[in-house]
Symmetry: C2
Amino acid sequence: MQAVTAKRVTKRVSAKRRALVRGEPIVRGILAAALEELASAGYRALRIEDVATRAGVNKTTVYRRWPTKEDLVRAALLSVTDEKIVPPNTGSIREDLIALGRAIVEIQTSPVGQSLFHVFLAEGPDSELMAIARSLRAVQESGLRAIVEGAVARGELAPSDDPMLPFELLAAYLKHKMIADRAGVDEAQLARVVDLILLGALSPARRKQI
Amino acid sequence: MQAVTAKRVTKRVSAKRRALVRGEPIVRGILAAALEELASAGYRALRIEDVATRAGVNKTTVYRRWPTKEDLVRAALLSVTDEKIVPPNTGSIREDLIALGRAIVEIQTSPVGQSLFHVFLAEGPDSELMAIARSLRAVQESGLRAIVEGAVARGELAPSDDPMLPFELLAAYLKHKMIADRAGVDEAQLARVVDLILLGALSPARRKQI
């Protein structure tokens, strides 16, 4: 391990970043390059030309699919979040919460995820980048909503005025733990949090009195 | 309301900031001034002389009680968080969680709380200010731990490998809602979150099968 050269380390990181992105090879290459450019240059300074160079394609190849920087960045962020951040809808709300939690931890601890976090902070809450992120969250929410509705319909979750709350609690806890506390979250801790969200903290005896 | 002058608005904000701080009048004045200086100048640029001027006292009055900037800032932050962030230990874990939640919302939405949040972000995770904040959290945690232990002892909370988790979930959710989502949290929402943390999201029928 100690003999690994700097170049090989860079290659490995790049492979890891690319592994986050799905789709056809050429699309995957461009979107991964866009994420890398976004992570290193930020949103305002990002140029489609630089993305093309990094991906080793002609810039018209990029423009043909994504006419604007906003389109390209939206597609790049969606390629990371779309598949991972909407759980698989396994028919078990516990499994789905754990899958969502794993995806959040994976993205947040990946090199590209960490760089992107700082880019988001630097761009600020009123930036175009934040607006893109918010519109992606709306996509994610509709997927999560379908999962909650399924779980309520099959009698697994209690009906609620705020059906997204279990997902929100989980996401908030994981992000807070990793960002503010700078602590990792392992599988055991993830299961503990999911079970608290599903079963509650009250003792069974006290629960019966309610 | 529209006739209120800029000066009177400033005065009101100042009064609100001062109301967050407890203790003897002169101590309260100095600590409130320290918070205001911290919120406007940041930690690195903060000078004890400027705090004294703002509080209308001689700088030796400040140095006598708090020999260093670190001591002063620690005391100022503690004056906001100490009383509010450790719940009253009412004997009801639900009441204590709601009291903690209210305190977090109040601090986070206060003018001084909002400015301090940006100061903390700007100083960065490895700053002396963050180290002070972390040591204050240790103080808070010992207070919360006593509350949890009491609730477990009287059979209210189930024993847990991670007894602080209910408090952490609540704090993470509220901060995430107010900071990332830039949304307020009212009393009804606070009660909903606390009840989810205590009772869980599963339907009662499904719970019995576990």
